[in-house]
């Protein structure tokens, strides 16, 4: 009898061991192909089991990667390199913040340290390797290669590319300005006529 009770208890113990986490959060990071590139880190939140009323996510950004900004449900502490977000209501709302890659292309790969917590559970945020990769180019003009969300350097057309700047006449703009002037004239003419 004693043996069977112990066996039953053992089964109960084994059976009681936890199922999957109630929350799973994965980072999604676009291609980073250049130093000083701004990019958005998105957090994919999946809730299984009971829906927690609130969720706090803490992301610690590695040295060398700059925090540019975060959406309004997040707080940024630049001193501790911490981005902390509180979610409530619709936990399916995606979360995102913006970082900037290091100035040096040779910066080593890095991992964001992320945790989430509810009132009854906690866990790690997964995925999202920070790495400056070579863009996979087709041909031609590597200096103008497309990047997923990169800004080209501002075009300073008054330096060195002056010829190029003056080659194409901005006809449409001139016509637009002229048309606006015409419209103003028409209004003034009308008002003058009315006054008379």
């Amino acid at each position: 009898m004693k043996k069977s009770v112990f066996i039953a208890l053992a089964f109960v113990l084994l059976a009681s061991i936890a199922a999957a986490e109630e929350v799973s959060i994965t980072r999604s990071i676009p291609q980073i192909t250049s130093p000083n590139q701004e990019f958005k880190v998105s957090l994919h939140i999946e809730v299984t089991g009971a829906d927690p009323s609130g969720l706090i996510i803490s992301e610690t950004i590695p040295e060398g990667w700059q925090i540019v900004g975060a959406q309004s449900s997040c707080i940024v502490n630049n001193e501790t390199r911490l981005i902390k977000c509180v979610l409530y209501g619709d936990l399916g709302t995606p979360l995102a913040y913006t970082l900037k890659s290091p100035q040096s292309k040779g910066a080593p790969e890095a991992v964001i340290l992320g945790e989430w917590k509810t009132l009854t559970a906690s866990g790690q945020v997964k995925g999202g390797l920070l790495k400056i990769a070579e863009p996979e180019q087709e041909t031609e003009r590597p200096a103008q290669s497309a990047q997923s969300s990169a800004n080209q350097q501002p075009q300073t057309q008054n330096q060195g590319t002056q010829n190029q700047a003056t080659q194409d006449n901005p006809m449409v703009l001139y016509i637009g300005v002229a048309a606006t002037a015409l419209l103003l004239l028409a209004v003034i003419f009308r008002m003058t006529k009315k006054k008379k």
Binding site: K84, S148, T180
Partner: protein
Amino acid sequence: MDFRVKLLAVLALLFALPAFALEPSITESSPAPNSSYTTTPQLIPYRFTINYAEISNAGNTRGEGASYSWQTTLISESNPTRVFTFNEAEIINRGGMDPYGIHTYVGDIASKRLSAGNYRLRFTFRWRHSNDPYTDWNHEIPITITGPEPPTTPEAYFEMVQVLPTGDARQRRYASGTEGSFPVEVRHMERQTGKTVIAWGRNAEIKQVENPDLAINNAQAQFGYGMMGPFGLTSGVTNVHNTLPLGHYNVIVRYTWKESDAARSPLSTFEYTEEVRIPFEVFDPQNDHFVVERHLPRNQIIPGTTFTARLLADPRSDSFNGIIITENLPQELEYVSIEDALRPLKSSNPIVWLLRDVNSVPFTEIRYGLRVREGTSEGSTINMSGTAEVLGDQKQIAGNSTITVAGLNLECPVANQVLLNYIENWGSFVRGELEDDAPLVDDITVLQVIERWNSCGEAQ
């Protein structure tokens, strides 16, 4: 109005509008709208050519600098805000050609594990001149994916393996006030052949089990490691200094990596995260027999909200095959079952857990939920008691035994402004800007307030 004036006005508008409604034009776009694909993993190529010469010319005229960028995103029609993980889909840009004012943007959507449904490919051209606000111009192509549910992400071909230290945690016990160290070696080994690691990153930290939020500085304990060695080797030494407080700790080494086949096909490239936890302990030699400690939130508890209590069953230098832990809940508290927690043998008061091991019960953490019943007096104190029993011995549960009921006026309904005020104060706490005399609104407090607000419903 005079006819001539009307005519002038209309002509002026017709000429003026194009100048101010600067937009690029798409001259080439693929895939074709409403193209259909299956859930079978595949590359979906895209190609967009836009002519933005007018915009570029306008920028040149101003001569104050200009910025242009391009981006492709994939949007689910059923959930437009859905974020796709790397293992579901990857957007791969393959560069393009850019004669002045014309840009061809090419790439692939690597559909690795996309479910059936309607999607949109959105090509965004973003520009600004000088310090003007950014302007986004979008071109969208609807596509459809059909078929059965895609397979799950494959199991990783690589895994983390702890090489050092060997032996169980009991071999890494350090008496309080002494110095100690142990080597750590973790490798990234091949579980099955066929792929290589193409990108890899790691981090490591030391955390206390009793208080995971405890900040541990290098003067207390440190895990020092060098550059990555062969086979993804992390090799270093954990130094435990004499100032590290009593408690149980874990050295946590975490790897995130991408692995792919020899051809580096995007469809075979997946990302994984894994960790290894190496426990050690700082103990009091004067008090080295088994104990079960209760850990409660230090926060005041709002009636009606759930909080987590923890029981740490610590054998210390003792060895036993079984231990029964009993919690006698006072009438003000009710037990709440929480997921991902060791279920009690008996969940009605008193709550009972049984821990067993054929060798010796190891250090074990038990988490369970509690709720202060509605109507409990604000500001009152609730005392908890319980026992831990092994063969031939019984002790009271040590550690925290007191819960203070919050003296907050959070009767239902909780006004939105009240919630927002707490969140504002929590923000100050996170930024380290909390005034000395301001009430502490940490993570647990704000989560409690949210739960209270949520359970009540919004204020009228």
